[in-house]
Symmetry: C5
Subunit: 80 residues, 5 copies
């Protein structure tokens, strides 16, 4: 009953499930942006520095989303 097509199907299903992790960076980066907007509202002169630390944090928060993307691409193109 279980054959190569089963493995491919599970790999493709897993690729889709892996992408759920994308909600994490999405939420976290939105929180970072919310605090960035709040900080600029309080101290508009520091907008440049706020922007740079916010973008640094957002870039670091992107990592787990990229891990999921890599795993999903491996599952789709190497294992399915």
């Amino acid at each position: 009953m279980f054959n190569a097509e089963f493995v491919s199907g599970m790999a493709l299903l897993g690729a889709g499930i892996a992408m759920i992790a994308g909600l994490g960076p999405g939420i976290g980066q939105g929180i970072a942006a919310s605090k960035g907007a709040e900080a600029v509202g309080r101290n508009p002169e520091a907008a440049g520095k706020i922007r740079s630390i916010m973008v640094l944090g957002i870039a670091l928060a992107e990592t787990t989303g990229i891990y999921s993307l890599i795993i999903a691409l491996i599952l789709i193109f190497l294992k399915a």
Copy 2:
């Protein structure tokens, strides 16, 4: 064992699962509304400007919910 009905069934199940993403915009827009109410409470004279930036953010937050809606409609009417 697996036939066209299996594909249709999975497509319809996927359509339902896709709509789970709707919880994201729902939460995020509620957060935006909560801060909108807070901001109007602090500075009622700025209510118009608060409303316009709040509605802008809520409209942008709607996008992922619309993506899910589109995917669900495709799954239901084109693939099932």
Copy 3:
């Protein structure tokens, strides 16, 4: 292999899954209650007005939980 019992079983499983939505109103209403307590702590004289707007928001937040309840009851008693 798939028969009326399969449909009934999936309907009952779906009824249980539908109730997961209840976590949303539960969280949101708890947030509303947390801010209600905070607001009364800051301004105890406004307790009546705080209570009325808090209960209004909590009632509106209940809606999605009621939708899930209705769908679950339909799934259990009409489709299973």
Copy 4:
């Protein structure tokens, strides 16, 4: 194909799934503890009163976790 072992297996799987609810009390009680620490930091003299209301809220937040525990125990020992 479906027999008593299927029912037992689903009951045990359901018992495991039921315990997922434990994340709710865990998060909520952590939020309560976070605000308790914040409140003691602001007003250390009120530490006793803060502790008692925090523990009251944490005890109430425990209820859904206990419901899940009871359902899981019923599923494991009475239905599986």
Copy 5:
């Protein structure tokens, strides 16, 4: 139909599912870090004390992630 391979497959699937718990410590430790940064921003002279209590809390928040790691390793190497 169900054999030792079924048990192994479910154990490996369970190992993957167990690791989902890792999102909890990840979120919680990020919240701790966010408040640590906020606290240092308000009172840079207390940076050493803030760091020590933050690291203490982050270490305690790591526990459930370690539980999941242990269960996943048991599932993979002892049961699959």
